[in-house]
Symmetry: C2
Subunit: 203 residues, 2 copies
Protein backbone atom coordinates (compact mmCIF):
# COMPACT_ATOMS: atom_id res chain seq x y z
CA UNK A 1 0.00 0.00 0.00
CA UNK A 2 1.66 3.17 -1.17
CA UNK A 3 -1.03 5.62 -0.10
CA UNK A 4 -2.00 7.36 3.08
CA UNK A 5 -5.06 5.85 4.73
CA UNK A 6 -7.36 7.91 6.91
CA UNK A 7 -10.05 6.50 9.15
CA UNK A 8 -12.97 8.55 10.41
CA UNK A 9 -15.00 6.71 12.98
CA UNK A 10 -18.05 7.00 15.15
CA UNK A 11 -17.36 6.68 18.86
CA UNK A 12 -17.76 3.02 19.78
CA UNK A 13 -17.69 1.71 16.22
CA UNK A 14 -14.32 0.03 16.75
CA UNK A 15 -12.78 2.28 14.09
CA UNK A 16 -9.75 3.16 16.18
CA UNK A 17 -8.82 -0.48 16.83
CA UNK A 18 -9.54 -1.32 13.18
CA UNK A 19 -7.12 1.42 12.10
CA UNK A 20 -4.47 0.16 14.51
CA UNK A 21 -4.72 -3.44 13.33
CA UNK A 22 -4.88 -2.37 9.69
CA UNK A 23 -1.65 -0.41 10.12
CA UNK A 24 -0.03 -3.44 11.78
CA UNK A 25 -1.12 -5.76 8.97
CA UNK A 26 0.18 -3.32 6.35
CA UNK A 27 3.31 -2.61 8.41
CA UNK A 28 2.60 1.12 8.24
CA UNK A 29 3.04 3.77 10.94
CA UNK A 30 -0.17 4.43 12.89
CA UNK A 31 -1.26 7.80 14.21
CA UNK A 32 -4.16 8.55 16.53
CA UNK A 33 -4.44 11.04 19.36
CA UNK A 34 -0.81 10.27 20.24
CA UNK A 35 -0.14 12.65 17.38
CA UNK A 36 -0.65 15.39 19.97
CA UNK A 37 2.70 14.45 21.47
CA UNK A 38 4.30 15.27 18.11
CA UNK A 39 2.35 18.50 18.01
CA UNK A 40 3.64 19.36 21.48
CA UNK A 41 7.21 18.93 20.23
CA UNK A 42 6.51 21.26 17.32
CA UNK A 43 4.69 23.99 19.16
CA UNK A 44 4.56 25.81 22.44
CA UNK A 45 1.35 23.97 23.41
CA UNK A 46 1.40 21.36 26.14
CA UNK A 47 -0.19 18.00 25.38
CA UNK A 48 -2.70 18.74 28.12
CA UNK A 49 -3.68 22.02 26.48
CA UNK A 50 -4.00 20.31 23.11
CA UNK A 51 -6.21 17.58 24.52
CA UNK A 52 -8.41 20.24 26.04
CA UNK A 53 -8.79 22.16 22.79
CA UNK A 54 -8.70 19.49 20.12
CA UNK A 55 -11.95 18.39 18.51
CA UNK A 56 -13.71 21.21 20.32
CA UNK A 57 -16.05 23.44 18.43
CA UNK A 58 -15.32 27.14 18.78
CA UNK A 59 -18.34 28.66 20.43
CA UNK A 60 -19.22 31.79 22.31
CA UNK A 61 -20.48 29.49 25.05
CA UNK A 62 -16.87 28.57 25.62
CA UNK A 63 -16.10 32.24 26.16
CA UNK A 64 -14.73 34.06 29.22
CA UNK A 65 -17.91 33.87 31.25
CA UNK A 66 -18.65 30.23 30.67
CA UNK A 67 -15.34 28.53 30.03
CA UNK A 68 -12.59 27.58 32.45
CA UNK A 69 -9.06 28.90 32.62
CA UNK A 70 -6.74 30.34 30.02
CA UNK A 71 -7.84 28.21 27.05
CA UNK A 72 -11.29 29.71 26.86
CA UNK A 73 -10.59 33.43 26.90
CA UNK A 74 -10.29 33.56 23.12
CA UNK A 75 -12.01 30.29 22.29
CA UNK A 76 -12.09 30.83 18.54
CA UNK A 77 -8.41 31.69 18.36
CA UNK A 78 -7.41 28.83 20.66
CA UNK A 79 -9.21 26.11 18.76
CA UNK A 80 -8.25 27.55 15.37
CA UNK A 81 -4.60 27.62 16.33
CA UNK A 82 -4.74 24.07 17.64
CA UNK A 83 -6.44 22.91 14.44
CA UNK A 84 -3.86 24.57 12.22
CA UNK A 85 -0.96 23.34 14.32
CA UNK A 86 -2.24 19.75 14.16
CA UNK A 87 -2.84 20.12 10.41
CA UNK A 88 0.74 21.29 9.94
CA UNK A 89 2.09 18.26 11.81
CA UNK A 90 -0.24 15.95 9.85
CA UNK A 91 1.19 17.26 6.59
CA UNK A 92 4.74 16.69 7.83
CA UNK A 93 3.82 13.12 8.70
CA UNK A 94 2.12 12.57 5.34
CA UNK A 95 5.13 13.94 3.48
CA UNK A 96 7.22 11.12 4.96
CA UNK A 97 5.11 8.45 3.24
CA UNK A 98 2.21 6.02 3.66
CA UNK A 99 0.64 5.61 7.10
CA UNK A 100 -2.72 5.12 8.78
CA UNK A 101 -4.27 8.11 10.57
CA UNK A 102 -7.38 7.99 12.75
CA UNK A 103 -9.47 11.15 13.14
CA UNK A 104 -8.10 14.71 13.13
CA UNK A 105 -10.02 15.58 9.90
CA UNK A 106 -7.07 13.93 8.13
CA UNK A 107 -9.18 13.07 5.06
CA UNK A 108 -9.69 16.81 4.52
CA UNK A 109 -6.37 18.16 5.77
CA UNK A 110 -4.38 15.75 3.60
CA UNK A 111 -6.51 15.98 0.46
CA UNK A 112 -3.50 17.07 -1.62
CA UNK A 113 -1.89 13.72 -0.77
CA UNK A 114 -4.93 11.88 -2.26
CA UNK A 115 -5.45 9.63 0.74
CA UNK A 116 -7.78 6.65 0.86
CA UNK A 117 -10.54 7.60 3.26
CA UNK A 118 -12.63 5.13 5.22
CA UNK A 119 -15.60 5.83 7.47
CA UNK A 120 -16.42 3.29 10.18
CA UNK A 121 -19.82 3.38 11.86
CA UNK A 122 -22.33 1.18 13.68
CA UNK A 123 -25.77 1.14 15.23
CA UNK A 124 -26.17 2.97 18.54
CA UNK A 125 -26.93 -0.27 20.36
CA UNK A 126 -23.81 -1.97 19.05
CA UNK A 127 -21.68 1.09 19.94
CA UNK A 128 -23.03 1.04 23.49
CA UNK A 129 -22.24 -2.67 23.86
CA UNK A 130 -18.73 -2.24 22.39
CA UNK A 131 -17.86 0.64 24.72
CA UNK A 132 -19.28 -1.11 27.80
CA UNK A 133 -17.25 -4.22 26.94
CA UNK A 134 -14.15 -2.03 26.60
CA UNK A 135 -14.70 -0.56 30.07
CA UNK A 136 -15.10 -4.08 31.44
CA UNK A 137 -11.99 -5.39 29.68
CA UNK A 138 -9.95 -2.47 30.99
CA UNK A 139 -11.27 -2.90 34.52
CA UNK A 140 -12.74 0.61 34.40
CA UNK A 141 -15.83 1.80 36.24
CA UNK A 142 -18.94 0.63 34.44
CA UNK A 143 -21.69 3.05 33.54
CA UNK A 144 -25.31 2.34 32.60
CA UNK A 145 -26.36 1.84 28.98
CA UNK A 146 -28.21 5.14 29.11
CA UNK A 147 -25.15 7.02 30.35
CA UNK A 148 -23.04 5.41 27.64
CA UNK A 149 -25.65 6.33 25.03
CA UNK A 150 -25.44 9.97 26.11
CA UNK A 151 -21.64 9.89 25.98
CA UNK A 152 -21.65 8.38 22.47
CA UNK A 153 -24.12 10.97 21.29
CA UNK A 154 -22.06 13.77 22.80
CA UNK A 155 -18.72 12.65 21.37
CA UNK A 156 -20.12 12.04 17.90
CA UNK A 157 -21.87 15.42 17.94
CA UNK A 158 -18.60 17.09 18.88
CA UNK A 159 -16.72 15.25 16.13
CA UNK A 160 -19.37 16.14 13.57
CA UNK A 161 -19.38 19.83 14.54
CA UNK A 162 -15.61 20.07 14.63
CA UNK A 163 -15.32 18.43 11.20
CA UNK A 164 -18.04 20.58 9.70
CA UNK A 165 -16.61 23.77 11.14
CA UNK A 166 -13.14 23.25 9.69
CA UNK A 167 -13.92 21.41 6.45
CA UNK A 168 -17.29 22.84 5.38
CA UNK A 169 -18.28 19.25 4.69
CA UNK A 170 -20.62 16.90 6.48
CA UNK A 171 -18.99 14.34 8.75
CA UNK A 172 -19.99 10.79 7.82
CA UNK A 173 -21.35 11.75 4.40
CA UNK A 174 -20.31 8.98 1.99
CA UNK A 175 -18.95 11.39 -0.64
CA UNK A 176 -16.03 12.22 1.66
CA UNK A 177 -14.87 8.60 1.73
CA UNK A 178 -13.94 5.79 -0.63
CA UNK A 179 -15.66 3.20 1.51
CA UNK A 180 -17.98 3.33 4.53
CA UNK A 181 -18.16 0.21 6.66
CA UNK A 182 -20.89 -0.70 9.14
CA UNK A 183 -19.43 -2.69 12.05
CA UNK A 184 -22.75 -3.46 13.76
CA UNK A 185 -22.47 -7.18 13.01
CA UNK A 186 -18.78 -7.26 12.15
CA UNK A 187 -15.96 -8.05 14.55
CA UNK A 188 -12.75 -6.04 14.42
CA UNK A 189 -10.62 -8.57 12.56
CA UNK A 190 -13.31 -9.18 9.93
CA UNK A 191 -13.58 -5.42 9.41
CA UNK A 192 -9.82 -5.22 8.94
CA UNK A 193 -10.04 -8.09 6.44
CA UNK A 194 -12.72 -6.21 4.48
CA UNK A 195 -10.53 -3.10 4.26
CA UNK A 196 -7.49 -5.19 3.32
CA UNK A 197 -9.47 -6.97 0.59
CA UNK A 198 -10.58 -3.57 -0.76
CA UNK A 199 -7.02 -2.22 -0.70
CA UNK A 200 -5.72 -5.30 -2.50
CA UNK A 201 -8.39 -5.06 -5.19
CA UNK A 202 -7.78 -1.40 -5.97
CA UNK A 203 -3.98 -1.54 -5.91
CA UNK B 1 -24.92 -16.25 -0.33
CA UNK B 2 -28.12 -17.11 1.46
CA UNK B 3 -29.35 -13.56 2.04
CA UNK B 4 -31.21 -10.99 0.03
CA UNK B 5 -28.98 -8.21 -1.27
CA UNK B 6 -30.33 -4.75 -1.96
CA UNK B 7 -28.47 -2.07 -3.86
CA UNK B 8 -29.31 1.61 -3.57
CA UNK B 9 -27.44 3.69 -6.08
CA UNK B 10 -26.90 7.25 -7.19
CA UNK B 11 -27.80 7.87 -10.83
CA UNK B 12 -24.65 7.36 -12.88
CA UNK B 13 -22.71 5.56 -10.15
CA UNK B 14 -22.80 2.27 -12.05
CA UNK B 15 -24.78 0.71 -9.20
CA UNK B 16 -27.34 -0.89 -11.49
CA UNK B 17 -24.73 -2.67 -13.59
CA UNK B 18 -22.82 -3.64 -10.43
CA UNK B 19 -25.98 -5.24 -9.06
CA UNK B 20 -26.59 -7.09 -12.31
CA UNK B 21 -23.07 -8.49 -12.47
CA UNK B 22 -23.07 -9.30 -8.76
CA UNK B 23 -26.27 -11.32 -9.21
CA UNK B 24 -24.71 -13.13 -12.19
CA UNK B 25 -21.53 -13.96 -10.22
CA UNK B 26 -23.62 -15.21 -7.29
CA UNK B 27 -26.06 -17.00 -9.64
CA UNK B 28 -28.97 -15.21 -7.97
CA UNK B 29 -32.12 -13.75 -9.55
CA UNK B 30 -31.78 -10.03 -10.33
CA UNK B 31 -34.57 -7.47 -10.03
CA UNK B 32 -34.54 -3.86 -11.17
CA UNK B 33 -37.27 -1.78 -12.73
CA UNK B 34 -38.37 -4.87 -14.67
CA UNK B 35 -40.04 -5.71 -11.40
CA UNK B 36 -42.82 -3.41 -12.60
CA UNK B 37 -43.80 -6.10 -15.09
CA UNK B 38 -44.39 -8.44 -12.15
CA UNK B 39 -46.34 -5.72 -10.42
CA UNK B 40 -48.46 -5.31 -13.56
CA UNK B 41 -49.32 -9.01 -13.43
CA UNK B 42 -50.33 -8.69 -9.78
CA UNK B 43 -52.38 -5.53 -10.03
CA UNK B 44 -54.70 -3.61 -12.27
CA UNK B 45 -51.96 -1.10 -13.07
CA UNK B 46 -50.34 -1.02 -16.49
CA UNK B 47 -46.54 -1.01 -16.66
CA UNK B 48 -46.76 2.43 -18.25
CA UNK B 49 -48.83 3.76 -15.37
CA UNK B 50 -46.41 2.25 -12.85
CA UNK B 51 -43.42 3.79 -14.59
CA UNK B 52 -45.16 7.14 -14.48
CA UNK B 53 -45.89 6.94 -10.76
CA UNK B 54 -42.99 5.01 -9.35
CA UNK B 55 -40.24 6.92 -7.52
CA UNK B 56 -42.37 10.03 -7.74
CA UNK B 57 -42.85 12.14 -4.68
CA UNK B 58 -46.46 12.85 -3.82
CA UNK B 59 -46.85 16.58 -4.03
CA UNK B 60 -49.63 19.08 -4.33
CA UNK B 61 -47.76 20.37 -7.35
CA UNK B 62 -48.70 17.12 -9.05
CA UNK B 63 -52.35 17.90 -8.31
CA UNK B 64 -55.28 18.46 -10.66
CA UNK B 65 -54.21 21.91 -11.78
CA UNK B 66 -50.62 21.10 -12.51
CA UNK B 67 -50.42 17.41 -13.32
CA UNK B 68 -51.32 15.60 -16.47
CA UNK B 69 -54.08 13.02 -16.95
CA UNK B 70 -55.67 10.53 -14.61
CA UNK B 71 -52.61 9.71 -12.56
CA UNK B 72 -52.37 13.12 -11.04
CA UNK B 73 -55.91 13.75 -9.86
CA UNK B 74 -55.25 12.17 -6.48
CA UNK B 75 -51.45 12.29 -6.52
CA UNK B 76 -50.99 11.16 -2.93
CA UNK B 77 -53.27 8.16 -3.35
CA UNK B 78 -51.77 7.18 -6.71
CA UNK B 79 -48.17 7.16 -5.58
CA UNK B 80 -49.02 5.56 -2.23
CA UNK B 81 -50.92 2.75 -3.96
CA UNK B 82 -48.07 2.18 -6.38
CA UNK B 83 -45.55 2.12 -3.54
CA UNK B 84 -47.59 -0.38 -1.52
CA UNK B 85 -48.26 -2.56 -4.56
CA UNK B 86 -44.55 -2.68 -5.42
CA UNK B 87 -43.72 -3.40 -1.76
CA UNK B 88 -46.15 -6.32 -1.76
CA UNK B 89 -44.53 -7.81 -4.86
CA UNK B 90 -41.05 -7.25 -3.38
CA UNK B 91 -42.05 -9.24 -0.29
CA UNK B 92 -43.37 -12.07 -2.46
CA UNK B 93 -40.07 -12.13 -4.33
CA UNK B 94 -38.07 -12.05 -1.10
CA UNK B 95 -40.09 -14.91 0.36
CA UNK B 96 -38.89 -17.12 -2.49
CA UNK B 97 -35.24 -16.77 -1.39
CA UNK B 98 -31.99 -14.91 -1.97
CA UNK B 99 -31.79 -12.44 -4.85
CA UNK B 100 -30.31 -9.05 -5.76
CA UNK B 101 -32.69 -6.07 -5.92
CA UNK B 102 -31.77 -2.61 -7.19
CA UNK B 103 -33.73 0.42 -5.93
CA UNK B 104 -37.42 0.38 -4.94
CA UNK B 105 -36.58 1.17 -1.27
CA UNK B 106 -35.99 -2.59 -0.96
CA UNK B 107 -33.60 -2.12 1.99
CA UNK B 108 -36.51 -0.65 3.95
CA UNK B 109 -39.42 -2.65 2.53
CA UNK B 110 -37.63 -5.95 3.14
CA UNK B 111 -36.18 -5.15 6.56
CA UNK B 112 -37.93 -8.17 8.13
CA UNK B 113 -35.89 -10.38 5.78
CA UNK B 114 -32.64 -8.87 7.17
CA UNK B 115 -31.17 -8.07 3.77
CA UNK B 116 -27.61 -6.97 3.15
CA UNK B 117 -27.84 -3.40 1.97
CA UNK B 118 -25.25 -1.68 -0.20
CA UNK B 119 -25.12 1.95 -1.27
CA UNK B 120 -23.18 2.81 -4.44
CA UNK B 121 -22.20 6.41 -5.12
CA UNK B 122 -19.64 8.51 -6.96
CA UNK B 123 -18.50 12.07 -7.55
CA UNK B 124 -20.72 14.21 -9.77
CA UNK B 125 -18.00 14.48 -12.42
CA UNK B 126 -17.54 10.72 -12.58
CA UNK B 127 -21.32 10.18 -12.79
CA UNK B 128 -21.54 12.62 -15.69
CA UNK B 129 -18.74 10.83 -17.55
CA UNK B 130 -20.26 7.40 -16.90
CA UNK B 131 -23.70 8.42 -18.17
CA UNK B 132 -22.28 10.19 -21.25
CA UNK B 133 -20.24 7.08 -22.06
CA UNK B 134 -23.40 4.98 -21.72
CA UNK B 135 -25.26 7.19 -24.17
CA UNK B 136 -22.33 6.89 -26.58
CA UNK B 137 -22.11 3.11 -26.21
CA UNK B 138 -25.84 2.75 -26.83
CA UNK B 139 -25.74 5.04 -29.86
CA UNK B 140 -28.15 7.44 -28.14
CA UNK B 141 -28.30 11.17 -28.62
CA UNK B 142 -25.53 12.85 -26.69
CA UNK B 143 -26.24 15.73 -24.35
CA UNK B 144 -23.85 18.29 -22.90
CA UNK B 145 -22.11 17.76 -19.57
CA UNK B 146 -24.23 20.52 -18.08
CA UNK B 147 -27.46 18.92 -19.24
CA UNK B 148 -26.33 15.57 -17.85
CA UNK B 149 -25.39 17.21 -14.56
CA UNK B 150 -28.91 18.62 -14.27
CA UNK B 151 -30.44 15.23 -15.07
CA UNK B 152 -28.29 13.48 -12.47
CA UNK B 153 -29.21 16.07 -9.89
CA UNK B 154 -32.90 15.75 -10.72
CA UNK B 155 -33.00 11.94 -10.63
CA UNK B 156 -31.05 11.71 -7.37
CA UNK B 157 -33.26 14.35 -5.79
CA UNK B 158 -36.35 12.40 -6.79
CA UNK B 159 -34.90 9.16 -5.43
CA UNK B 160 -33.94 10.84 -2.17
CA UNK B 161 -37.37 12.43 -1.72
CA UNK B 162 -39.21 9.22 -2.60
CA UNK B 163 -37.08 7.21 -0.18
CA UNK B 164 -37.43 9.75 2.59
CA UNK B 165 -41.17 10.07 2.12
CA UNK B 166 -41.87 6.36 2.43
CA UNK B 167 -39.17 5.26 4.87
CA UNK B 168 -38.71 8.29 7.16
CA UNK B 169 -34.99 7.71 6.70
CA UNK B 170 -32.37 9.64 4.79
CA UNK B 171 -31.38 8.18 1.44
CA UNK B 172 -27.65 7.54 1.22
CA UNK B 173 -27.10 7.82 4.98
CA UNK B 174 -24.54 5.13 5.92
CA UNK B 175 -26.60 3.80 8.85
CA UNK B 176 -29.12 2.34 6.37
CA UNK B 177 -26.49 0.17 4.73
CA UNK B 178 -23.86 -2.44 5.63
CA UNK B 179 -21.38 -1.00 3.17
CA UNK B 180 -21.22 2.15 1.05
CA UNK B 181 -18.92 2.04 -1.96
CA UNK B 182 -17.54 5.01 -3.88
CA UNK B 183 -17.12 4.13 -7.57
CA UNK B 184 -15.45 7.38 -8.60
CA UNK B 185 -12.15 5.65 -9.34
CA UNK B 186 -13.43 2.11 -9.46
CA UNK B 187 -14.52 0.24 -12.57
CA UNK B 188 -17.61 -1.94 -12.49
CA UNK B 189 -15.87 -5.32 -12.23
CA UNK B 190 -13.58 -4.10 -9.45
CA UNK B 191 -16.62 -2.81 -7.57
CA UNK B 192 -18.29 -6.22 -7.95
CA UNK B 193 -15.09 -7.86 -6.68
CA UNK B 194 -15.13 -5.61 -3.59
CA UNK B 195 -18.74 -6.57 -2.80
CA UNK B 196 -17.99 -10.26 -3.42
CA UNK B 197 -14.94 -10.08 -1.13
CA UNK B 198 -17.11 -8.49 1.56
CA UNK B 199 -19.83 -11.13 1.17
CA UNK B 200 -17.26 -13.93 1.37
CA UNK B 201 -15.70 -12.47 4.51
CA UNK B 202 -18.97 -12.09 6.38
CA UNK B 203 -20.48 -15.44 5.41
Amino acid sequence: MNRIITISRQFGSGGHEIGKRLAARLELPFYDKDILRLVEENSHYSEEYLLENEEQVPSLLNGPYYGSGHTSFYPQISTDKVFFTISHVLKDIAAKGPCVIVGRCADYVLQDFHPLNFFVYASTESKIQRKLQQLKDNGQTLVTSDEMKKQIRYVDKQRAKYYEFYTDKKWGQPSNYQLCLNTTDLDTDKAVDVLLAYLKLIS
